[in-house]
């Protein structure tokens, strides 16, 4: 399954205006599983790199995320009818 990764500078509010709903941040192997599950619930899925979110974390969490940010994504979904 090809993951629906989207490189975008949009803010959360812009995504929300387009009907997207932020779910949560995940990395493999759970990332593919979660995409599969959201698809099975009839939702369109978009994965956005967490770079922007990492910048907003406190220092302690930031250090941890810096090492994994290439492989972690924020999951956004919207219903297919939107």
């Amino acid at each position: 399954m090809k993951l629906p990764i989207v490189e975008s500078d949009n803010t959360d509010a812009e995504f929300e205006n387009d009907g997207w709903r932020r779910q949560f941040v995940a990395s493999e192997p759970r990332l593919s599983e979660m995409c599969e599950l959201f698809n099975s619930l009839g939702k369109e899925v978009m994965l956005v790199p967490t770079i922007q979110e990492v910048e907003e974390l406190d220092e302690a969490c930031k250090a941890c995320f810096e090492s994994t940010k290439e492989s972690t994504f924020t999951i956004w979904t919207r219903t297919n009818s939107d």
Partner: protein, 267 residues
């Protein structure tokens, strides 16, 4: 109908279960997952077969689930951990509508419809903070084993407030608390209470509905279940004893039973 097997290869433990032709649980086993997931699955399966008093040739269908489900080379198919937990919760408690599953590295809340289908779900955000790994690290830094966590928390007189639930920083949290004279039992219970708060947040986000079923390794600690039950205010189900850790594997096995019936009907 032959027996069936369900395997749940979790990030911390691998669980195997065997159901007989009537759908009764006749064997189970658990092993540390470690880093050789395929070996852990095979060992757990072999011990579960022995526990059930059956041989591999008596097994008609195998479904694997969990983090390492694709590494089970003797499986027929795989299912997601959420689907397996939903089926397992229904096997124990048919009126389950919300399932909270806290394992070694994940916290998952799932809402089900009356056909046991997943309606919505939510996982812990960003990292494994506030999962089993946090409790294990907290215990380890105080020289207690995982097996001692339940009893330690039960001896708490009054829990201390734990400010963070990051497993990486658990050590400094523990050192801070010990340096101001907090008792290990109160630190352990404080760690559990902090997980309760996060669990409730997650459950609210999926608009939880009763009956609530609590599963996963963390639910083997009585004070965790007591605290969650008090917050949820009733309609809380918890499988007895160590069965709380086998819910996903049992769910996979019940799905295996359905698949086998279908396969046999087509033959």
């Amino acid at each position: 109908m032959k027996c069936v097997a369900g395997l749940d290869v979790g990030s911390t433990y691998t669980k195997a279960t065997i159901l007989n032709s009537e759908g009764d649980l006749i064997g189970r086993a658990m092993r540390n997952t470690g880093f050789k997931l395929d070996e852990a699955a095979r060992k757990a399966f072999d011990v579960a077969l022995e526990d059930a008093g059956v041989s591999e040739s008596d097994i008609g269908y195998v479904i694997s689930t969990g983090y390492g489900r694709h590494r089970v080379d003797f499986r027929d198919v795989t299912v997601t951990a959420l689907t397996a937990a939903a089926r397992g919760a229904h096997w124990f408690f048919p009126n389950s509508r919300t399932v909270l599953d806290i394992g070694g590295q994940t916290m998952k809340a799932t809402k089900l419809d009356d056909k046991i289908k997943v309606k919505s779900f939510r996982l812990n955000d960003k990292c494994a903070a506030g999962t089993g790994a946090f409790l294990e690290k907290t215990a380890r830094y105080m020289d207690y084993s995982t097996e001692q966590i339940g009893a330690l928390a039960m001896s708490s007189k009054k829990e201390v407030e734990i400010s963070g639930v990051c497993a990486v920083f658990a050590e400094s949290e523990v050192i801070n608390q010990l340096s101001i004279g907090s008792e290990p039992s109160d630190i352990m219970q404080g760690a559990m209470v902090s997980l309760v708060g996060r669990s409730l947040q997650l459950m609210r986000r999926i608009k939880m509905e009763p009956e609530y079923t609590l599963v996963g390794g963390i639910m083997r600690y009585p004070t965790m279940v007591q605290s969650l039950t008090a917050e949820l205010g009733g309609d809380v189900n918890v499988p007895e004893g160590d069965l709380v850790q086998f819910v996903g594997a049992i769910g996979a096995a019940t799905l295996a039973r359905q698949r086998l019936a279908k396969v046999e009907a087509e033959e």
